[in-house]
Structures are given as structure tokens and as C-alpha cells.
Subunit: 306 residues, 2 copies
């Protein structure tokens, strides 16, 4: 099943060619979640061939412009495309105020319903879940209230082996038992082992996202064991003091979070516009956590199994 991340913008506050403000689309089993929506996100979606009408969930980390300024325009484009499906937006309470004001001053209306779900920095929260996927927020530490997000595949029932169904003439109730991981013991004493009758269960993968944050060790707990982690690395370690002051992180610090959280892979973004090359970031992060890559606009990352 598909679980991947398309980087629409990996830039920091100041957009550069090829480094749009922050936005990414996470596709979990063909459900699309937009994480942050900086200016120009709708154009980036078109450019990178992301089907924007399939986005039903948008999560905004915080109220700095480079993470949300593309949202009013995207909502307007949904409307021009004749959207009727409900849209769910998760973000700081004041985001609703901003979106409402844009609608009001433009005397605009929408033919679809927007459900606004305010986020909190009090602790981890499940924002959305269905049978296949779960969206959570967790607090990070930035100049203003900010959350990260986690997307998790829900555990899937393992598939039953057709040849075993035939061989033992399995009843539907027996199949259910086996799929739940329990062995079947028949009246005649036959034992059918779940581990033999079912295909091995695929592990559930997860993706963690911390786009604007100080180096803050509680994050390692929040994203513990995710298969892929996106963490900001606005500065390199020589500018550690500046990172602290501006509530950002260095590449080394991001790698420490990845190492301590024992994640599968780390992708670094939100690199300050002062850097034309990201070699230094990559090098210093890899020294702490080897499975690191640098984000790039248009990059598609599969969330790996561990």
C-alpha cells in the first residue's frame, strides 16, 4: 500500500527558486494529507502533478506566513473547481479567524463545508482516524504555539492463505479467529496455527513531521520509532546560538532527535536561504545519524519499512 511524502516546499521563511515555503502532501493508502501550505503551494501542486482535489485534510503547524499563506488561495481554487466534498482543516485556533476574514473581505462563499479542528500544544492529540490511517499532532517548541504531526498506518489484519482455507475447509468464523492472530482448536483436537494459516502481517508505518522547532528533546519521545522523520534544520551547527535564539534547529540537533527517537530515516528541510548548498547540513547530520537525506522540492519519499 502506498505511503509516501511529496515535498512541495522545503524552503525557510524566505522563498528561493526551487525552495518554496513549507508544504508537503502525504499519501497514505490513497488518502492525501497536506501538511502546511506556504505561499505558492497550489502552483507547486500543479507543477509536481499532485491532484489537489483529492486533498480532504489539511494540517497547519503554526501561524507563521511561510507555513499557511497559501491556504486562502487554495481554498478559493477548490471553490473554482466546483468542490462539494467536505474539507477538514487542523491548525491553531486563530487560523480560522484568518480564513474567515479572507472570505468576508472578498464577499466570497463556498459550496463545500469546511470543518475546522483547532490544535493544541498541551500534548499529543489524535486529530483524525479511520480504518486505515491516523493523524496526530504533538507539541514542538517555537516562537509561537506550534505542533508537529504524525501520520500512522493502522495495523492491518493479515491475509489468510487460500490454500489453507481449502485444505482445512475453514469456516468464516475460523478465518476471523486466525486473522486476529489466534489459533483455531477444533472439537476433534486439530490445531490450526494462525502463524501458518495467515501471511505474515506487514508492520504499520508512520511518518513524523516537525517543520519549525527548537532542538527540544521531548520531540524524540513524540516521534519515537517513526519510519520516516522530517525535521527542520534551518542552520548548521556553527550557528547553534542563532538557532536557539530564533527557535530553530541545526542539522546536528535534528539528527540527535532522529537518533534518540530511533527513527528509520531522516529528511532535513527548512534550510535558511543564507545557504546555497546543503552539503554542510548533510555532513554534520550524517555524523550523528547516517540514514539522512536533504529535502528537495518535488522529491517523493516512500515511507520505508524498518
Amino acid at each position: 500500500m502506498r505511503f509516501d511524502v511529496t515535498i512541495l516546499g522545503c524552503g525557510a521563511a524566505l522563498p528561493l527558486p526551487g525552495r518554496n515555503p513549507t508544504a508537503q502532501v502525504v499519501n497514505v493508502h490513497e488518502k492525501q494529507f497536506l501538511l502546511d501550505c506556504g505561499e505558492g503551494t497550489q502552483m507547486a501542486m500543479r507543477h509536481h502533478k499532485v491532484r489537489l482535489m483529492r486533498i480532504d485534510h489539511i494540517a497547519i503547524s503554526h501561524m507563521h506566513g511561510d507555513h499557511y499563506l497559501g491556504l486562502p488561495g487554495l481554498i478559493s481554487t477548490f471553490s473554482l473547481f466546483g468542490r462539494e466534498k467536505d474539507l477538514h482543516i487542523y491548525g491553531p485556533a486563530r487560523l480560522k479567524e484568518v480564513l474567515d476574514l479572507h472570505q468576508e473581505v472578498g464577499e466570497s462563499w463556498l459550496d463545500f463545508k469546511v470543518h475546522f479542528h483547532p490544535t493544541t500544544t498541551d500534548g499529543p492529540v489524535v486529530l483524525f482516524e479511520d480504518a486505515t490511517v491516523q493523524l496526530e499532532s504533538f507539541p514542538v517548541r517555537h516562537r509561537i504555539p506550534t505542533t508537529g504531526f504524525i501520520l500512522r498506518e493502522k495495523p492491518k489484519e493479515p491475509g489468510i492463505r487460500k490454500d489453507w482455507v481449502k485444505r482445512f475447509n475453514l469456516e468464516p468464523s475460523e478465518i476471523l479467529t486466525l486473522k486476529k492472530g489466534k489459533d483455531v482448536v477444533r472439537a476433534d483436537g486439530t490445531v490450526i496455527a494462525s502463524s501458518s494459516a495467515c501471511y505474515p502481517q506487514l508492520a504499520s508505518r508512520s511518518y513524523g513531521y516537525a517543520a519549525d522547532t527548537n532542538y527540544w528533546t521531548p520531540i524524540a519521545k513524540s516521534v519515537a520509532g517513526v519510519n520516516l522523520l522530517y525535521h527542520e534544520a534551518t542552520f548548521d551547527d556553527r550557528l547553534k546560538a542563532r538557532a536557539k535564539k530564533t527557535f530553530h534547529s541545526t542539522a546536528t540537533q535534528a539528527a540527535k532527535i532522529a537518533r534518540d527517537a530511533e527513527v528509520g530515516q531522516l529528511v532535513l528541510g527548512h534550510v535558511s536561504a543564507r545557504y546555497t548548498s546543503m552539503e554542510v547540513h548533510l555532513k554534520e547530520a550524517k555524523a550523528v545519524f547516517d540514514a539522512t537525506v536533504m529535502a528537495k522540492d518535488g522529491m517523493v519519499l516512500s515511507v520505508p519499512f524498518m
Copy 2:
């Protein structure tokens, strides 16, 4: 002296590749005016090599997103670039409310002063003038209060001919008189004609901008005689009814305004995303007003003398 228009976005509400939302920079004698600022304008400026720190005046026609959503991000970029110069913004009163809210929710501050000048649709108004240029607004007719803008070169004093200064040994006071268009009569009866002693005065050029409007004949009066007119042409004439209903214009209607206003040249933009080609627009406009071109992102138009 330089007087030209760089089209940063000629698109309508729905942005397309190569057709960004509305924005343009008008350079009048090296003073830069930004007219409208749709989403992505700051990236378009960078792409088309417009030096954004030289913009001190921004005029917004109305509060539909495709004309102003790039402004909060541009202001933030000014700030990141360490701007200290004052910035003048002209637009509907509620624009200030929107900009203030963005600053407030981001807990952001600016190290430069923003002077906000509310526009009105009651009639033509001079918004700014100095020795070389004048910015005016005039009402157009759209779904919400909207203005167009005119930029005019101020009449320049004609240059004095050096050979005449020498020949008649002209005094500074005499030069001033001649430059003002008056002849000099000396005590000895010598008459020095201004028209001979001065170079012919270059006519003052003007640029008119009506980016979102119904076909509305008073516009022809407002932009009468401008050297270059940008007029929206969202639809072609087959969709005249739709143009009327949505408070937009057809290419034919835009050309009628240009013809009735006796402008020098017409440039059409804001073509609906439904059109992949603009051939029809150009053809039908040229049938009414021949000196018509279609706008294109990145195009630089010199305001012509007539």
C-alpha cells in the same frame, strides 16, 4: 526616461503555469510601483529579475484573493531583507485589517514603517505625487469595491540648448524664463524665443490599469488618452452574458474602452483559465482596436509616446 510595465502575473482567479495571479511592476523614472500582488508575486519578481527592495509603493485594486494574497508574504520578505525604508500601501480599507491580522497571529513585527492609504470608489483620487510621477485611482465596476490605477509622468521642463546659452550669454534667470516656455525680451530689444532656445518638450506619458471590471463606459473617461492601457478580458464575446454576471469583461468590450478612450496601446490580461489559447481574444479585440497585444507573464512593455 524609463517608463515600463513588467507583467508578473496576467492570470485570472485560477493560476495556471505561466499565468500567475495578477501583479505588475511599473517603473516610472526608476521609481517602482507594484500594482496588485496575487499569490506568488514575490517568487515571480525573483524569476523576472525585478528588484523587490526598490518597491516603495504598492497599490491593491480590490479584496479578491488573486489580487492581494501575495502581499503578507512580500511584506515578510521585505522584513527578512532588513528593510528600513518606509512602505506605502494603497488599497481598500479592509486590506489594512487583513495585513494587521497576519502580523498579529504571527506575533511578527516590522522594522520599517508602513503607511496605509485607503482608496475610495467615489471618484478619481490622486494617491501619490512627487516631482516626476503621479499615482491616481479611479472607480471601476466589480462585484466588490474596486479601483483601477493610473500612473502619469509629470510634465518635464524642456532642456536648454547649450549653444544658445553661450551665444546669448544667458543669465540663470533668463534660462528659467525660457524653460518655463516664455520668451526673453532684453532691455536692448533683443527677443530670445523659448521655442528656439529649448529642446522640444517630450510629452508626458501615462499608463492606465483596470484589472477586474465589468464593461463600464465611465472607465473610458477615467483613462482618456493614456498611452498604454491594461484592461481585463476574462472572456471572449461569446460569453458576454457570463462576463456581465461575474462582473468581468470580454476582449471586445475592453477594446471598446480603449477605442473610446483614444489610448495609444491596449494590453489584455486576466483571461479565464478555461482558455488555453488567447487567439480569439486578440482577434476580436483587434477588430475594434488594432493596437492590442495580449499580456504574458514576464513581458516588459514600454509605455509608448503617442
